[in-house]
């Protein structure tokens, strides 16, 4: 009997899967049509489209770690930056071919992530956050000073968008679709890993690392694996960054860039792998249009950030559920109102609770 009273989560999520899937496909269709919908493609495609995509990919790596492993990493933009530096170094300094440069960049980013993980996986919560932030700042300082490797503040250039044979990235539309394909791939990869036995074990570690070691799992090894995987995702974002800017310089990995990723993740919904792209669009729109009506773009970004935290704590991706919750409550009130029975009141309670737990979910 208690089974009837408490619908299980998987039943709930099955109910949610359908609208989620439909919305996802609509957004994907819009994203595919995007270059043909805008009036000034030369402005919109790189500044909003491609920028949103790479912001989203890097933020997705942060969300993956946060949602499935319970770690909040501020090193994701740094990892992406390392990958960008890797591509640029291979192209500019070593003169390698585009494909090899891309692979080199991905390897640099992933390897760096692995090394960060070896140190950081031993820490938790706020210490993990501080450590990743500190490592990011160390890399920024190094990149800004190591003239021999990074060409210091002038950065490495030019890194032209290459002709990859199958796709000529020099063409803006092609490059956009390349970034879009990368974003979709990253999403599918994250989802796949999350549903594997490995992903389930990660979620176990998120909920109770003590239990996992009592069950015989080597918790550290799993954490290192997850951070390395997330670094690979961030590195893919880094490859798009370097081609988007045609160069890489320390500003790619400075504190602002690091915080941008966190803002994107929070605006999109820190528990949602797809919400990050909504966050990316919001931030890139802010970056490009806020100057039209205010000089204080940082203030505006901050206000948007606060507004999201206040009114939609689960981010843009959580708004659907939030609206549903409000609707449920209104409907139930309407039903119970004419009867005027206080006994009818309790049913509204659970939906309120649902709303708040939804909001506080990491």
């Amino acid at each position: 009997m208690t089974r009837l009273a408490t619908p299980t989560r998987s039943e709930k999520s099955r109910g949610w899967l359908r609208p989620g899937l439909i919305i996802g496909l609509i957004v994907l269709a819009l994203a595919i049509a995007f270059p043909h919908l805008v009036d000034r493609p030369k402005f919109w495609i790189p500044n909003i489209g491609i920028k949103s995509l790479w912001l989203g990919i890097v933020a997705m790596s942060l969300v993956f770690l946060n949602r499935y492993v319970g770690l909040l990493s501020l090193a994701q933009m740094t990892i992406a930056g390392m990958s960008a530096y890797g591509v640029a170094y291979a192209t500019v300094t070593l003169g390698l071919s585009p494909w090899v440069s891309i692979v080199f960049g991905l390897m640099i980013g992933t390897l760096a992530g692995y090394l960060v993980a070896l140190v950081a996986a031993r820490t938790k919560a706020i210490y993990f956050l501080m450590l990743t932030l500190a490592l990011g700042q160390v890399f920024y300082s190094w990149a800004a000073q190591a003239v021999d490797v990074t060409n210091a503040s002038r950065g490495l250039y030019p890194v032209p968008r290459p002709d990859l044979g199958v796709m000529n990235l020099a063409d803006l539309n092609s490059f956009y679709y390349f970034a879009l394909a990368a974003a979709v791939l990253c999403y599918l990869l994250c989802r796949y890993v999350a549903t594997s036995s490995f992903g389930l074990a990660l979620q176990g570690i998120r909920d109770s690392p003590e239990r996992m070691s009592a069950l015989g799992y080597n918790v550290n090894r799993y954490r290192v694996g997850a951070i390395t995987f997330a670094s690979f995702i961030a590195s893919i974002g880094g490859v798009i960054v370097v081609f988007d800017r045609n160069q890489v310089d320390p500003s790619v990995v400075n504190l602002n860039a690091t915080l941008d990723i966190l803002i994107v993740a929070v605006i999109g919904g820190i528990g949602s792998l797809l919400g990050v792209f909504a966050g990316g669009v919001v931030l890139s729109l802010l970056l490009n249009f806020s100057q039209d009506f205010t000089d204080r773009y940082m203030t505006l970004t901050g206000l948007v950030f606060i507004a999201v935290l206040l009114f939609a704590p689960a981010g843009l991706a959580g708004i659907g559920k939030q609206v549903q919750g409000v609707k449920d409550r209104v409907l139930r009130k309407k039903k119970s109102a004419p009867v005027l029975e206080p006994v009818q009141e309790p049913p509204t309670k659970p939906s309120e609770e649902e709303l708040t737990t939804e909001g506080t979910q990491r």
Partner: protein, 256 residues
């Protein structure tokens, strides 16, 4: 090489543990033969949980030696001890709250089956899910597989605890106050569950509640102020003046 000692599941020799200036455990000896059922009882602060955590490997002993199945494990990690055949439950539930009951057991089964991570989708391991189902049936949670752990009652969570510990196919099973927060009917059910645990599994029970401790064990160890003060059969313990004194000195309802 360490001398092979197959007769003992666990040997604790002169183990002490200090927390700063506090001597939580003083020079405790303990031997458990294979297949034995031992209860460790004592009031709050007697050192039961400290002893438990030392055996499980949560923190290291200040001095002394711990042998598991004849092997010295004093400096070994929790995960390695688990792989040697030691399973434990937790006093305060440390389940995977955001996952379903079935997923919890699925993960528990992984520790012994895979050494590393498996990148196969979880639904492609039907035999592992089936084994999980059988375990849930064994502890009476068959109907609850799809429920999220956070929605379970306290008693159900303890049942799940047991299922997850059994998933390891342990040689030594340690239960940390399994009856904590149980209603009387749940207690009866628990005693039944504990009695159904296969005989080849050695059982070490840390328990606050005398009734359960005495009902399940073949030998009982009484701890007080970080020391082992008495050891005997349930009947001897029940008759002991000293035990009555300690328990009455603590809290009244526990002596009942």
């Amino acid at each position: 090489m360490i001398m092979p000692d197959t007769g003992h599941a666990l040997r604790v020799r002169g183990v002490s543990r200090n927390f700063g200036g506090l001597k939580a455990l003083r020079d405790v000896d303990l031997e458990i033969a294979d297949g034995e059922r031992i209860s460790v009882i004592g009031t709050n602060g007697a050192g039961k949980s400290t002893l438990f955590n030392l055996i499980a490997g949560v923190f290291p002993a200040t001095s002394g030696r711990i042998e598991l199945f004849g092997e010295d494990v004093t400096g070994m990690s929790t995960a390695k001890r688990a792989k040697r055949g030691l399973a434990r439950t937790f006093q305060t539930s440390r389940l995977f709250e955001q996952l379903t009951v079935a997923e919890n057991v699925f993960i528990a089964l992984g520790g012994s089956e895979f050494r590393g991570g498996s990148l196969r989708p979880a639904w492609r391991s039907p035999s592992r899910w089936e084994r999980g189902e059988r375990l849930l049936e064994r502890v009476g949670l068959r109907e609850k597989g799809e429920a999220v752990v956070a929605d379970l009652s306290h008693g159900e969570q303890r049942q799940l605890e047991l299922a997850m510990a059994l998933a390891l196919q342990p040689k030594l099973l340690m239960l940390d106050e399994p009856a904590a927060g149980f209603s009387p009917s749940e207690r009866t059910h628990l005693v039944k569950l504990l009695r159904e645990i296969p005989e080849e599994i050695t059982l070490l029970l840390i328990e606050h509640d005398m009734d359960i401790a005495l009902a399940v064990a073949s030998r009982v160890i009484v701890m007080h102020d970080g020391e082992k003060i008495l050891e005997g059969t349930p009947d001897e313990i029940r008759a002991s003046e000293r035990v009555r004194e300690i328990y009455l000195g603590g809290s009244l309802d526990e002596a009942v």
